[in-house]
C-alpha cells in the first residue's frame, strides 16, 4: 500500500470533528451550552488523536503493514492541531484573553496547570516533526525527545479526570486505553532486554567448532 493514496483522504477525515462542531455552532445543534460543548469536544478529539497516534506503532508491528508508520506524523500533528484549538477556546471564550486572570488560573487550578504543561510539551514535538529537525537533532536524540509523548498521554488523562465533577467513568476509559498503549511499550522493552541478556545479539563464532578430547 502506498501511503500517498491514503494521506489526502485521511487528512480530510481528520478534519471531520472540526467540521462537525463548526456545523453544530451554525445549525445550533450543540445543545444549551454550545461553547462548553465545543471546548470539551475539541479537547476530547485532541486526546482521541493522541490515542490513534499511539496505536500506529503496535498496529504496524502486529499487522506487518509497514506503510502505517508513514501516517504517524500527520496523525500526531492533528493532536497538536486539536490541542491548539482546545486551548484557543479556553483563552478566548472562557477567559476572553484576560491575561492576568489566565495567569492566575494556570497557577491556581491544578487541572489548568496540567493542561498547560501538556500543551507546552506538545509544542517541541510539533516543531520537530520534519525531516530537517530529524537531521539536525540526529535520529537518536529526536527519538528521545519524542518519547515525551508517553508523558503527554498520562498528563492529558490527568487533566481530563481533574476537570470532571463526580463521574470519573469516561476519564477512566481513557486512562485504561493510555495504560494499555503505554504498557505495550514497557512490555516490548522488557522483551528486548531479555533477548539481549540471553545473548541474542552476541556475534556468532566464526568457522567450525572443533571439540578437543583429552586423553586420560
Amino acid at each position: 500500500m502506498n501511503p500517498s493514496f491514503i494521506k489526502p483522504p485521511l487528512f480530510i477525515v481528520c478534519l471531520a470533528p472540526l467540521a462537525w462542531y463548526a456545523w453544530g455552532v451554525q445549525a445550533d445543534t450543540l445543545g444549551a451550552n454550545p461553547i462548553e460543548a465545543v471546548t470539551r469536544g475539541l479537547g476530547t478529539w485532541a486526546l482521541n488523536f493522541l490515542l490513534i497516534t499511539l496505536t500506529v506503532t503496535p498496529l504496524r508491528k502486529y499487522s506487518g503493514w509497514a506503510w502505517l508508520g508513514r501516517l504517524r506524523r500527520m496523525l500526531g500533528l492533528f493532536v497538536f492541531f486539536y490541542a491548539t484549538l482546545h486551548l484557543t477556546t479556553y483563552l478566548w471564550f472562557d477567559q476572553f484573553f484576560d491575561w492576568p486572570a489566565i495567569a492566575k488560573d494556570i497557577l491556581k487550578r491544578p487541572f489548568i496547570t496540567v493542561g498547560m504543561i501538556t500543551f507546552a510539551l506538545l509544542v517541541p514535538l510539533a516543531a520537530t516533526s520534519n525531516a530537517f529537525a530529524i537531521r539536525k537533532l540526529g535520529g537518536r536524540r529526536w527519538q528521545e525527545l519524542h518519547r515525551s509523548v508517553y508523558l503527554i498521554g498520562l498528563l492529558a488523562v490527568l487533566h481530563y479526570s481533574w476537570m470532571v465533577k463526580a463521574d470519573l467513568s469516561k476519564p477512566l476509559v481513557y486512562a485504561l486505553m493510555v495504560g494499555v498503549l503505554l504498557g505495550l511499550r514497557v512490555w516490548w522493552r522488557l522483551q528486548e532486554r531479555n533477548r539481549q541478556l540471553a545473548g541474542a545479539y552476541l556475534p556468532k563464532p566464526r568457522g567450525r567448532i572443533i571439540s578437543i578430547a583429552v586423553k586420560k
Binding site: A32, N33, D105, K108, R109, P110, M163, A166, S169
Partner: protein
Amino acid sequence: MLIRHPDDIAPSDITPRALFDRRREFLRLSAGAALAGVLPAAEAKLGPGRASVLSSTEAPTPLKHVTGYNNYYEFGTDKEDPARTAHALRVRPWTVSIEGLVKQPKTLGIEDILKLAPLEERIYRLRCVEGWSMVIPWLGFPVSSLLKQVEPLGSAKYVEFITAVQPETMPGVRSRVLDWPYVEGLRLDEAMHPLAIIAVGLYGDVLPNQNGAPLRLVVPWKYGFKSGKSIVRIRLTDSEPRTSWMKSAPHEYGFYSNVNPEVDHPRWSQASERRIGEFSKRKTLMFNGYAEQVSQLYTGMDLRKQF
C-alpha cells in the same frame, strides 16, 4: 457559512393575540372543570400562577434549554441524559412524608400538596456550581407553607430533603457516582425564607420529569444542587444534615453552598458565569443577586469557612 432555513411557522398559523389571551381564560375554566371531576386532571395546566414581587425581570431562558440541559444524576451524568431518560419516572401516586422534630408528622399526597397554597410564578435566576446560569419561571409556593402544616418544634434547627430512588426507572442509581438517595438540607430559617419555594411547575405548566417532578426545592441564592428534585421525605432535625455532595467531596461542597463570587470551588473560579444562550460571561453576584433579601441570614458568619 450562514445556513438559511425557512421559518417553521407561517404567519397565518400564529394565534392572534386576542384569541391567545382567551386561551388562558379557557384554561382557567377547564382547570375548574377538572377540579370538579369533569375532565381528567392530567389535561389541566397548572399555570399561570399569581405574579410575585420576588420575580426577576430578566428574560427567561428558553424552555428547550430549561428542559434539555439538566443535572439530575439519577438519570445520567450528561446534561442531555435526563431529557432522554426521565420520562420513565413514576410521578403518580406520590406522597411526601414530613417527619422528625414536628408536632404533627404527616404524609401528604401530591394532590393535596398542589392545593396547599395558591400557586405563584417565581422567575428566579439559577446559578449552577459548574459556572453556568439560567432564568427560570417556576410555579410553586413557599416552603414555609408546607412546613407550617406539620408545626416544627422549637428544637428543630435544620430541614433535610430526601429525594426519590426508583432503581427501575433511574439508570443512574445503579452506579455509585453519589450516595443515593440524593439528600440536601437547609437551616430551618433558610427554609422558612420567603424566597425558598417548593416548585411544582415551570413555564406555567406541570414540572417536567427532568426538572424534578412532581415537586422540588428551589433556593435561588444557593448553587443549583442545593435545590433537590423529586422530594419524597422531609425531616426536621437538630443537627446539620450530611448532604450527598458533602459526602462525595467534603472539601469541595459545604453545607451552605451560597452563591459567592469570592469563594472559589477548589478546582475552578466562581467569579463569573455563562448565562445559557449568551456568548460573553457575566460577573457572578453575591448570593446570586439576592443579597438584599438573604444576607441577614448569615450575619457574623465567615462565609469562607462556612461555604
